[in-house]
Amino acid sequence: MNSSGYFLSHLWLIPFFPLVSAAVMFFFGRRLPKDAVNLFCVGSVFLSFLHAMGATLKLFSLPADQRVYQQILFQWVTPGAMPTSTGLVNFVADWGCLLDPLSCVMVIVVTFVGFLIHVYSTGYMAHEGGYYRFFGYLNFFMFFMLTLVLANNLLLLFVGWEGVGLCSYLLIGFYFLKKSADDAGKKAFIVNRIGDAGFLLGLLLVAATFGTVRFTSQGLADPTAFSGILQSLASMVAQHQLAHGASVFTTIALLLFFGATGKSAQIPLHAWLPDAMEGPTPVSALIHAVTVVTAGVYLVARMSAIFQLAPVAMDIVAIIGATTAVFAATIALVQTNIKKILAYSSISQLGYMFLALGVGAFAAGIFHLMTHAFFKALLFLGAGSVIHSLSGQQDIRKMGGLRYTIPATSVPFIIATLAITGVPGLSGFFSNDQILGHAFNRHMMVDRYLALWVLGLITAGLTSLYMFRLLFETFYGMSRIPVESEGHIHESPKTMAVPLMILAFFSIVSGWLALPVLWGEQSPFERFLEPSLRGVEKDAGSITFGHHTLLVEYALMAGLVAFVVLGFWLAYKLYLEQPKLHTKLAASWPRLHNLLVHKYYVDEIYDALFVNRIKDLSTALSFFDSKVIDGLCLDGAGWLVRAFSRISMWWDKWVVDALVNTLGWFPKFLSMPVRMFQTGVFSTYAVFILIGLAILLGVYGHHVQTFMRTLH
């Protein structure tokens, strides 16, 4: 495998180019002219794209079972020994790149769409402040997204995962003077963090179970010298240490999926994405709705070997996916902000992808991820072009009839709409059909999957309805544009129009990779991805699909088309033929309409259940801190000390001192008569001497006399 060639052995350059460019922007951007910024930022992503293409072509040239290339740059986190189910292991997470069919698809999608976004942005942001800063963020985002998809282990993937979260935060809050933007950025970060906590616990469980977080040891020069999750998993299953459906698999899968619901905006952590539309431009909106959100899908696909062994988790993924798909699609029906409609559409389509993953159709999920990236990017960029030409107007109620005024935008936009709704021949049709087909096949084996298939069909109908509504409201019918801005309508510059055309092209043809399905063969896309998604060896419990005849296949396609047509027909009736009809409809079901307009009150419910409760807790604990610990305990201790000192002072004064004083008083009392004489005054003493002398003389006078007499 030494003949890996330049592109494979320089895989690390793919994320490196945008990183360098981002660093240049952050350090010197302020002083650089716009052209230099363009050169660095667009050029670096283009270089990444070229390297990604080169690596992909090289990979293609290899036989199918050797299409894995891995390189380890250096050992990154080496914290020491860790107990695992197979004994003590020195945990090592390296900094390395892995290119296999799965990451190949992701890298191409990310660099290609990313490149077009960059080109488009040079036009869109031309007159905005902070030009270099915006491009710095974009490049920084590319670095993290590419690190995410090229990572050879789960911990490095987490770096990219958190990094794109950070860039979301920066891009959403790009105009940091606006409070709503800052709030939205913060919300995105924190909601994602909640998911990340799940991700991190899942990662720790992976490490503790398999002793490594490296996805696979394939593709390394000496695979036996390194461990990989896939290899550990295979040997554990082979040795019957862990079996299909083991609770550890379910736990890992659910924890990682919880992380994915955060990043991919699925129930219950979907609430950040619509707010993320606060981002200054459709560009940043697009980054969230097309790129960031696919990270969750990628994660589940990347860990598909474990998910396949956790049927309960798979069912939950499918149920959450299908529910989110319908849930978000219904909200999209009534929103009026063009970016928000597209955001809810993204949530819904992401749900679709998770439905695919959940029923075991990993390749179909990734296929939809790819086609969706093209047509949803086109929709966002088209919407941006509309907003640009209307000088910032985002409310579709104030649009209409733009089809002829801005044809370079409207034609690609129409193509994208046809693609996302699943009109036969365009990309969305094929990927939708793949997902629904697999859900139906699953149902053939297990009855309960019928509901998922039905939900999928309903979503297809709803998608058709809200997308055609958007199309009709924006580009068809009467213009509702305020007269004063009517005159300013202008077509977008070439830098914006050309990316639209390129994306339109791929929105049509990218689905054709599944064309052979039409004559009953396996989709080549699926066949290409198969080695990455194969999982470990099949056993009794593994996922199986029923097989249907070509006739059933056509019937399923017809069913899909029927729902699409139904949606189209409703949209046509409600918004184009009789534009007043939909307002009447809304008025006749005010409760339902309100529920949808308010997004099922999820934000309000979360505020009431969590956000405000944590604030209350914070107030309560702050009170506890100052009043109980400091107040009661410390001041109480202080009071006790003071009280004790007062008691001891009293004791000192009235007992100890009193006793001493009494003892002192006693001789004092006894000595009182003596002290009366000790006046210290000489004359007094003289008097006392005289008195004494007198008394002596009085008492002993006769002796003196007798004595005197004897002398004589």
């Binding site: 986190v77 020994a81 107990p83 003590l88 950070l166 003077l177 002793g211 490594t212 604030k615 914070s618």
Partner: protein, 532 residues
């Protein structure tokens, strides 16, 4: 060993003290000379400690650069120093933050500069002594010595309620220390009892801790709790933490930096160095004690973070965030696994870097606006874009963004804890979510949005001296985040030694049904120790 003739540790330890002595002879009017000498000895101290890094033998598990001399022979107290990988990192942190703290005071301190720098340098020696002592008596002396300058730094150069804060700090810590002294004496006398009649007792730390292994569990338990309070107050652990918010709010910037960056680590250092070997042998009793400490750690993590959300003062908020972060450190220590311990020490370094830098940043604002209230700021990213950028990086490092230092520490701790109890790890991860919440909230309130105060409109951005103080910390944050291996290399062996001593069962896990060899680091399913 060979290094015994070398007096490197003494040089490192007393360089600041020499500076303090020198300052005594400088007249009080020459303020710039005080600053110069203070900074000079800050830098010298750091340079001296660099040689520790260079000469420290790779892969050493024990104490190196040992020095010993008789000090008070009548009681067996000796002047005895030594450093293992853990101490080396903490000493480096101390000299680095000490140097930066001194540098940050250049224009912030205008009064009594002579006394100020003398106290800072004295404090530096006290803290280094704690991390370097191999004699319990010496350790205790340094432990108490550093309290005095800290008391005066807060009490003299602090803001309005400085006296309250200083006395609170003093009393809190002293209460813990007194119990610790009793525990040390109990260790000393119980060891002396085991000696033959007439033999002299010793305060030698390795000897005493090794001897303590043979003590009955009841005695060990008493000794453990005796030391526990001193360390828990220093860390500080819930519910012994309320001195910290006051001390931080009132302390001058350099005081806060040193307090958060180094002083708190003396508590965690004490835990891992002295408390762990005193854990009782009886499994049930031991588990009970560990569970209590872990519970306090988890409460600290969540409690500190939740209380942060309601703070009005930046420094107070950072103080509570320290309680939360240090909760991670104690959690890692009492997981008793190599990863938990290594992660804990690394996180102590990380906290010193991140929170130290945050205090420096708010010191920059304090110097310009003379306030630390959150509501006084807002929209500062407009006048001070470079400040805002560095502050964002440091916030991210504090909240555990990958590629920055905090993530490596938190992840390693979580991994070490996870292998013991998944529940503990799950609770700790709540702290990670809340950490993002309060740090981003603080960032938004101070940096983003429109400018709300006239006075903030024309605030100057960072000046060269401020860059010089902040950028080393930013660089370190990236270094540890991107390439933490050198740091782990210092910790690997000492940590292994501690775990072998206090949790020998850990290494017996190796013999699992599928593997019969002993520690099989290079077996096929495990990761190889070195890339070949």
């Amino acid at each position: 060993m060979e290094h015994s003739s070398n007096h490197l540790l003494s040089v490192i330890l007393f360089t600041p003290l020499v500076g303090a002595l020198l300052l005594l002879f400088i007249p009080r009017e020459s303020q710039n000379l005080h600053r110069l000498v203070g900074n000079l000895f800050g830098v010298l101290g750091f340079i001296a400690s660099l040689s520790l890094l260079i000469h420290f033998p790779a892969g050493s598990a024990g104490y190196e650069f040992k020095e010993a001399a008789d000090w008070i022979p009548s009681i067996g107290a000796r002047y005895s120093l030594g450093a293992d990988g853990i101490s080396v990192l903490l000493v480096m942190l101390t000299t680095l933050l000490g140097m930066l703290a001194i540098a940050s005071s250049w224009s912030a301190i205008q009064q009594r500069t002579k006394e100020y720098y003398i106290l800072l340098l004295l404090l530096q020696t006290g803290m280094l002594g704690v991390f370097l002592s191999l004699d319990f008596f010496l350790f205790y002396v340094f432990w108490e010595v550093m309290l005095v300058p800290m008391y005066f730094l807060i009490g003299v150069w602090g803001s309005e309620r400085r006296l309250y804060a200083a006395i609170k700090l003093f009393l809190y810590t002293l209460a813990g220390s007194v119990i610790m002294l009793l525990a040390i004496l109990a260790l000393y006398f119980n060891y002396a009892k085991t000696l033959p009649q007439g033999a002299m007792g010793t305060f030698d730390i390795p000897t005493l801790l090794a001897a303590a292994q043979q003590f009955p569990d009841s005695l060990k338990t008493w000794l453990f709790w005796g030391l526990f309070f001193a360390f828990a107050v220093k860390v500080p652990m819930f519910p012994f933490h309320t001195w910290l918010p006051d001390a931080h709010t009132e302390a001058p910037t350099a005081g806060s930096v040193i307090l958060a960056g180094i002083v708190l680590k003396m508590g965690t250092y004490g835990f891992l160095r002295f408390s762990l070997p005193l854990l009782p042998t009886d499994a049930a009793l031991r588990a009970k004690i560990i569970h209590m400490v872990i519970a306090l750690s988890l409460i600290s993590i969540i409690y500190g973070a939740v209380v942060c959300l309601r703070q009005k003062d930046t420094k107070r908020l950072l103080a509570y965030s320290s309680v939360s972060h240090l909760g991670f450190c104690t959690l890692g220590i009492f997981a008793l696994t190599p990863q938990g311990l290594a992660g804990s020490v690394l996180q102590q370094i990380n906290h010193g870097i991140s929170t130290g830098a945050l205090f420096l940043l708010f010191g920059v604002l304090y110097e310009r606006r003379n306030t630390s209230l959150i509501c006084e700021f807002g929209g500062l990213a407009t006048p001070m874009p470079n400040f805002a950028a560095i502050y964002l990086i440091i916030s991210l490092s504090s909240l555990g963004m990958p590629l920055l230092n905090g993530f490596i520490g938190e992840f390693t701790i979580l991994q070490g804890v996870f292998s013991v109890s998944k529940t503990w790890a799950a609770w700790a991860s709540v702290g990670i979510v809340l950490g993002a919440a309060y740090l981003l909230w603080l960032y938004q309130r101070t940096m983003l949005g429109p400018i709300t105060h006239e006075a903030n409109k024309s605030l100057p951005d960072l000046n060269p001296r401020e860059y010089a103080v902040l950028l080393p910390l930013v660089a370190l944050a990236f270094w540890i985040g991107i390439y933490p291996r050198p740091f782990f290399a210092y910790l690997e062996k000492p940590v292994q030694r501690i775990v072998q001593q206090v949790n020998p069962a850990f290494y017996q896990l190796t013999t699992s049904p599928s593997r019969t060899s002993s520690i099989s680091f290079s077996s096929p399913t495990s990761n190889p120790v070195s890339p070949n």
